[in-house]
């Protein structure tokens, strides 16, 4: 426990500095309220325009296809590392997996999921 003592002291000092700054600014800081300051702060500039914009479904399709082909990478890397050990069984298993993915791609293409402008 004693080895962690400096760490706890560090936490204590950090809390003291952070808390102290809050107290000091509320107590000593000048206050000039205006409209922009009174708004709830999110981030960046104040937004203008409608908030209920519907993102195009194309983004969703792209994300979905990305996941499908990302999984491909997840599977292929470990297989490549063990290529010799897995032998022909591994080779044909991976080949059939890639064939499945090719079918997925063909399906997506024929269904029009890859056409950005329609």
């Amino acid at each position: 426990m004693a080895t962690y003592l400096p760490l706890f002291m560090l936490f204590g000092v950090a809390a003291l500095i952070a808390g102290g700054m809050f107290v000091a600014t509320t107590w000593a800081g000048p206050k000039v309220p205006n409209d922009a300051k009174a708004e709830p702060f999110e981030c960046g500039n104040p937004s203008d325009g409608a908030r209920n914009i519907r993102p195009s479904v194309k983004f969703y399709l792209t994300a979905l296809l990305f996941v499908v082909f990302d999984i491909e990478a997840v599977m292929i890397y470990p297989w490549a590392v063990q290529f010799r050990e897995l032998g022909y069984t591994g080779f044909f298993t991976m080949a059939s997996f890639l064939a499945l993915l090719a079918i997925v791609l063909i399906y997506a293409w024929r269904k029009g999921a890859l056409e950005w402008e329609k």
Binding site: T89, L100, I103, I106, Y107, R110
Partner: protein, 502 residues
């Protein structure tokens, strides 16, 4: 790895490859603008795929799974035994009938998009994996493959608020149930260090320390709750009526028969292989009292609520919950009478599959041109206007109510006799009383069809014309009649299958 592996998992391969083939057929088919929608060729293709899957499973049954060299290579991830093959046949039957129903329903209700059929096939493939899974990993993969397809099918009517609500509700609660199961499975792995169901069971039988026993009980509770969600047992049934009502009726039929059968297959495997030790199966320390309570609640609550529904589809949804309760009575009887109780459960699931798919099919036949027949009033006077439709609807309802000479009668009879054999007299009496209660709402549909005239100006159901739906109804009707008149051969098949699971 040799070729024999492919023989051993042939039913699964046939169904999956058929699904891929149909996907490609759909996207490459050139269709004239005035031609029928994709259902016109995909429905039959899907049915043939499922039929091929069932026939392959039957062929493997005749060969005998013990003679398959490849079966050992896929164990314990996929167990190829008679239990698996029996469920493969039941699931392919449920999926095939749903495909035929969809062939009539989707074009009639302007939902004719080809995606339905691959979803149906891959869901069935997932259900088959689930029924044959002998390892927590493959069990979970099968469960999710099955469920994902069904979530999409439930929300297939995209423009409808009700269908979307049903899909979201089913998705959220289904994922929650899967999470419970997974947590339970993780605890099991934590205690025993194994993922194979048989290995976990052996480790528990060998004895565990008392702290570990507490964790095991927790995992048992979590797994039972997850399973109860999937078979929609009260009090985990809340999603059932909404999801069943919002889904397109062929998807409802698939959920009621195939998803439920696969969930029961999973339940039987888990309870027997993992929690089959004397301590877990005793009434003082194990799962029997919990399952008995679930069974009593499920039967009684579902039957009471089903009688108060004004929508026939919702009534059938509650009826499917009630039937899950009857099956749970059989599950309790497993402890004392392992072979016969399990055989009776499996026979019940088979007879329930054909009766329920038939009842939903008849309901589909009663609606047309975008309007489903939902309320009792829609059906008023159907017996005079369309006697054939009313007759076949009544036949399936009688089977669900358990009247001889239908499949439903023998299903209930075997469950009751096995539970009496196991000494569970109270449960048996409650089951019989509940079937009397259930007869009320099944007969009420018939009363509306035969003894009421539609109110003046009220919308009446106009039956649709579809060869697919008629074919599905014919298959179900023949199966209900055959199982009702000659139940012994299929029962002995079910018992054979049950004996495989030890």
């Amino acid at each position: 790895m040799s070729d024999s592996v492919f023989f051993a998992i042939a039913p699964l391969l046939v169904v999956s490859l058929g699904g891929l083939l149909l996907m490609m057929t759909e996207v490459f088919a050139t269709r004239r603008a005035d031609a029928d929608g994709p259902s016109s060729d995909l429905a039959m293709g899907t049915f043939i795929t499922m039929l091929a899957g069932a026939i392959t499973a039957f062929a493997l049954w005749l060969v005998g799974p013990d003679n398959l060299a490849g079966a050992k290579a896929v164990a314990p991830y996929l167990l190829v035994d008679r239990f698996t093959l029996f469920f493969d046949m039941v699931l392919c039957l449920g999926g095939g009938i749903a495909a035929l129903l969809a062939g009539g329903y989707l074009p009639e209700h302007k939902l004719d998009r080809g995606e339905f059929y691959p979803l149906l096939i891959f869901s069935t493939a997932g259900a088959m994996v689930l029924a044959s899974a002998g390892d927590l990993l493959s069990l979970f993969i099968g469960l999710e493959t099955m469920s994902l397809g069904v979530y999409a099918m439930v929300g297939f009517r995209r423009g409808s608020m009700r269908s979307t609500e049903a899909a979201i509700k089913y998705f959220l609660l289904g994922s929650f149930a899967a999470a419970l199961l997974m947590y339970g499975g993780a605890l099991l792995y934590g205690v025993t260090g194994k993922t194979a169901l048989a290995g976990i069971g052996a480790a528990i039988r060998a004895g565990v320390s008392s702290t570990d026993w507490g964790i095991l009980l927790l995992s048992m509770v979590l797994i039972l709750a997850g399973l109860a969600f999937k078979v929609s047992a009260v009090p985990f049934h809340m999603w059932t009526p909404d999801a069943y009502e919002g889904a397109p009726t062929p998807a409802t039929s698939f959920m009621a028969v195939a998803v439920k059968s696969a969930a029961f297959a999973m339940m039987l495997r888990v309870l027997i292989s993992v929690f089959g030790d004397p301590l877990s199966t005793s009434w003082g320390t194990g799962w029997p009292p919990v399952v008995a309570l679930l069974a009593v609640l499920t039967m009684t609550v579902a039957n009471l609520v089903a009688g108060r529904q004004s929508s026939v589809k919702r009534m059938l949804a509650y009826s499917s919950v009630a039937h899950a309760g009857y099956v749970l009575v059989g599950v309790v009887a497993l402890v004392e009478e392992p072979g016969t109780a399990q055989g009776s459960i499996m026979f019940y699931l088979l007879s329930y599959t054909v009766s329920t798919a038939g009842a939903f099919g008849a309901l589909i036949l009663c609606g047309s041109r975008g309007k489903e027949a939902v309320s009792y009033e829609d059906l008023a006077g159907l017996g005079k206007r369309h006697p054939a439709v009313a007759l076949i609807f009544s036949f399936f309802l009688l089977s669900l109510a358990g009247m001889p000479p239908t499949a439903g009668f023998f299903g209930k009879l075997y469950i009751v006799s096995s539970s009496i054999g196991a000494g569970l007299h109270t449960l048996a009496v409650l089951l019989v009383l509940n079937s009397v209660l259930a007869a009320y709402y099944y007969l009420r549909v018939m009363e509306y069809m035969y003894m009421r005239e539609p109110a003046a100006g009220a919308p009446i159901a106009v039956p649709m014309r579809s060869g697919y739906v008629r074919a599905a109804l014919a298959i179900c009707a023949v199966a209900v009649l055959v199982l009702g008149l000659w139940p012994t051969s299929s029962l002995s098949m079910a018992i054979d299958a049950a004996l495989a699971l030890r």
